[in-house]
C-alpha cells in the first residue's frame, strides 16, 4: 500500500521541504525576519494544522468519517485562531517599506 509505505513518507518529507521553502520566500516578501523561534512556532502551527487532516483520514478509515470531519473543523478553527497570533508574532521586527518587486 503506497500510503503507508516508506516512499510515501519520503515524498511527504520532500513536500515539507518545499512548503518550508515557500514559507521562507513568503516571509521575505512580507519583510519578516525569520528567527529560530519564529521557525519553531511556525512548525508547531503547521503540525497542528496538518494533524487535522491526518486525524480526519484516520477516522474515515475507522468508519467514523462524520466524527473525523467535526474533529477536522475543530482543528481548522483552532488553527485559524492560532494563525492570527502567529502572524503577529512573525511580523515582529519586520523591515519597513517593503519592496516586494
Amino acid at each position: 500500500m503506497f500510503f503507508d509505505g516508506n516512499i510515501f513518507w519520503l515524498f511527504m518529507g520532500i513536500l515539507t521541504v518545499v512548503v518550508g521553502g515557500g514559507f521562507n520566500e513568503f516571509a521575505k516578501s512580507r519583510g519578516w525576519t525569520l528567527t529560530w523561534w519564529k521557525w519553531a512556532l511556525a512548525v508547531v502551527w503547521y503540525i497542528i494544522f496538518m494533524m487535522g487532516f491526518y486525524a480526519w483520514g484516520t477516522l474515515i478509515g475507522e468508519n467514523e468519517g462524520s466524527a473525523g470531519f467535526r474533529f477536522f473543523l475543530m482543528i481548522a478553527f483552532i488553527s485559524a485562531i492560532l494563525a492570527v497570533g502567529l502572524w503577529r508574532l512573525l511580523a515582529i521586527g519586520s523591515s519597513k517599506n517593503v519592496n516586494t518587486q
Binding site: 515524498f11 511527504m12 515557500g22 513568503f26 484516520t58 478509515g61 475507522e62 468508519n63 462524520s66 466524527a67
Partner: protein, 514 residues
C-alpha cells in the same frame, strides 16, 4: 535610450511560494489518505493482528502501585453461582417458574420454589426478582415472535457466532475435585487418566513468570498478568467437578497463583452491538488459550486448572485481572485495560507454579468513568448506574458489593435485554460504546498515553467533550425491539460480511426498514 527589461511569468520567489502552497495542499491530501490507511489497517486491530507478546504494548510501570487494588469496606461475602452469577440464577429461576407458571411477583417469593439462598438474595435485591420474572414471562416469548420476523436478517451473524462455539464441547473441563483433576494430565484418548510428573524447577520466580507470559501470548492471549489467589473472589459453591458436600470454605492448597489472560472480540463486529456482534469471538480464543496454558503447566509437573467462559468458572475473574495489573474496574463492573479498553474477555488458570506476580495499576479509569457515563446513557435496560461516583449510588446496595466498594450493576435488567436483542445472544453495547474500546492507531495511542499522565484532568474532559459531541450515538431506546420505540439499532452498522441480504437467497425483513 535604454531599454527596460520586462519580466514575464512568475519570478523565482513567486514560483517557490506557489510551489510551497501547492505542496501544502498535496501534503494535506496525502495525510488524509495516509490516515485513512492507518485507520483501517489490520495492524491496528489489537489482539487480532497476531499472536505475539507485542500485543501487550502499554508500559504499565509508571502506573503501578503496591496494592491490593481491592480492600474490603464491610463484611465480605463470596460470590455465589446460584445468586450473583446471572446465568446460574436465571437458570434456577427458570426451572422454578416453569414448574410454577402461575406465580407472579405479587406472590410471596417463598412460593416460587427456588432454594433458600436465592429467596434470601431476591429479598435483598427485589429488583432482580422483578427483572428475572419479566425475562421469562414477557421478554423471551416476545423475542421468539420477533425472531420469526427479523431472524433471517441476522442469519449470517448467528452462523458466524456459532462457528466460534464449534469446539467448545471438546475443551476439557475438570471432572473431579481440584485435589484430583488438577493433578491429572489433559491428553484425551488415553484409557486411563495419567497423573502429571514431578515439578520441573525454574531458575527463579521471575523466569517462571517470563516463560508463562511468553507462551500465554503465543497460545493466543493478548494480555496476561499474574497475581496471588484470594478466596474472596472464588465462588462459595459449585466448583467444577466438586460434589455438593465438598468443603468450599477454603482454597485447595495448590491454588496459590492466578494467571489471568484477556483477548478482544473482533473490532468491527463488536461495534455492531447489541444485535449482530458475538461474545464467542473472545470466548473461543480466551478459553482455548487458557486450556493450552493449563496443559503446558501440567506438562511441567505443576497442578493447574483453567476457568474459562467455554468450560467453567470457579471464580469471578475481573478482580484477579485488576490485581494482576491488566486494568482497572469500570462503571459497568468489568476490567478496562489500556490496550483493549472494555473489549477484553477474560479467563484464568490457577496453579502452584511459583511465579513473580504483577502489581495493580491506576491509569485514570476511575476518574474517567466518574465523568463519562456513556455506557449508562446508552444502556437500553438501564442496568448501569448513572451516579457520579460509586459513593453516590442510591439504588442496590450503594457502593458496597459483597464487602467491596463497587459500582452497582443490575444484572437482571442486563440479562433481560440480552433476551430481547436480535442476533447472537447477548448485548455488549457497553463494551462497544466505551471510549476506551478503540483500535490501536495514532489517535487512540495519543489519548491512551497522554490522559493517564495528565493530573489536571484537562485531557480527560477534552477527550470526553470530543467523544460526546463528534461521535454519533443512537438514542438508547432505538436499540430496543420494534414496538417498544426502537428498531433493533446497532451502535454501528454490521460489517459487510454479515449483511444477509447481500449473500443469502431467503426472504429478509429488516427491522430498520421504517
Amino acid at each position: 535610450m535604454t531599454e527596460t527589461a520586462v519580466k514575464s511569468g512568475p519570478s523565482r520567489r513567486d514560483f517557490l511560494k506557489i510551489g510551497g502552497a501547492a505542496a501544502l495542499v498535496v501534503q494535506a491530501g496525502g495525510l488524509v489518505a495516509a490516515g485513512n490507511v492507518q485507520g483501517s489497517s489490520a495492524e491496528t486491530y489489537t489482539g487480532w493482528e497476531s499472536f505475539n507478546p507485542a500485543t501487550q504494548f502499554f508500559n504499565r510501570k509508571p502506573f503501578e502501585f503496591e496494592g491490593p487494588a481491592h480492600l474490603p469496606v464491610a463484611d465480605v461475602r463470596r460470590p455465589s453461582h446460584m445468586t450473583d452469577y446471572v446465568f446460574g440464577r436465571v437458570a434456577t429461576f427458570q426451572r422454578a417458574y416453569e414448574a410454577n407458571p402461575t406465580w407472579t411477583p405479587d406472590d410471596p417469593v417463598e412460593d416460587l420454589g427456588v432454594p433458600d439462598p436465592l429467596v434470601a438474595f431476591y429479598k435483598e435485591y427485589p429488583e432482580r426478582l422483578e427483572w428475572d420474572y419479566r425475562t421469562f414471562s414477557e421478554t423471551i416469548p416476545t423475542r421468539d415472535e420477533d425472531y420469526k420476523v427479523y431472524g433471517n436478517y441476522y442469519k449470517l451473524a448467528d452462523a458466524y457466532s456459532s462457528g466460534f462455539t464449534a469446539h467448545a464441547a471438546y475443551l476439557p473441563t475438570a471432572g473431579s475435585p481440584p485435589e484430583e483433576s488438577d493433578f491429572m494430565e489433559m491428553q484425551r484418548n488415553w484409557p486411563e487418566p495419567k497423573p502429571i510428573g514431578d515439578p520441573v524447577p525454574f531458575k527463579n520466580e521471575e523466569k517462571a513468570a517470563e516463560f508463562i507470559k511468553e507462551v500465554a501470548h503465543r497460545y493466543g492471549a493478548t494480555l496476561v498478568g499474574i497475581t496471588r489467589a484470594k478466596i474472596d473472589y472464588f465462588y462459595s459453591e459449585g466448583w467444577a467437578g466438586c460434589p455438593e458436600d465438598y468443603d468450599y470454605s477454603k482454597l485447595p492448597e495448590h491454588w496459590q497463583y492466578v494467571i489471568v489472560i484477556g483477548v478482544p472480540m473482533e473490532w468491527d463486529t463488536v461495534l455492531a452491538s447489541p444485535q449482530a456482534s458475538t461474545s464467542y469471538e473472545g470466548y473461543d480464543r480466551v478459553s482455548t488459550a487458557a486450556v493450552r496454558l493449563e496443559g503446558v503447566i501440567k506438562n511441567l509437573g505443576y497442578p493447574a486448572r483453567a476457568s474459562t467462559p467455554m468450560t467453567y468458572y470457579d471464580m469471578i475473574v475481573p478482580p484477579f485481572a485488576i490485581e494482576a495489573g491488566l486494568g482497572e474496574v469500570s462503571r459497568p463492573g468489568y476490567c478496562i485495560t489500556p490496550e483493549l479498553g472494555s473489549n477484553c474477555r477474560l479467563a484464568a488458570v490457577v496453579t502452584n507454579l511459583p511465579m513473580a506476580t504483577d502489581k495493580p495499576i491506576k491509569f485514570g479509569v476511575e476518574e474517567f468513568c466518574n465523568s463519562c457515563k456513556i455506557c449508562a446513557e446508552q444502556c437500553p435496560s438501564g442496568a448501569i448506574s448513572m451516579a457520579d461516583s460509586p459513593d453516590e449510588q442510591e439504588w442496590g446496595t450503594g457502593p458496597v458489593l459483597r464487602g467491596y466498594k463497587h459500582w452497582y450493576i443490575n444484572n437482571g435488567a442486563c440479562y433481560n435485554f440480552w433476551r430481547e436483542s436480535m442476533g447472537p445472544l447477548g448485548c455488549r453495547l457497553c463494551v462497544a460504546v466505551c471510549p476506551y474500546s478503540r483500535k490501536d492507531n495514532w489517535i487512540h495511542q495519543l489519548a491512551r498515553e497522554v490522559d493517564p499522565r495528565d493530573p489536571t484532568g484537562i485531557t480527560r474532559e477534552s477527550l470526553l467533550f470530543m467523544q460526546k459531541n463528534f461521535f454519533d450515538y443512537p438514542e438508547a431506546v432505538e436499540y430496543r425491539r420494534v414496538g417498544s420505540g426502537g428498531h433493533f439499532a446497532s451502535y454501528r452498522p454490521e460489517p459487510a460480511f454479515l449483511h444477509a441480504e447481500d449473500f443469502l437467497d431467503i426472504p429478509i425483513t429488516s427491522p430498520h426498514a421504517d
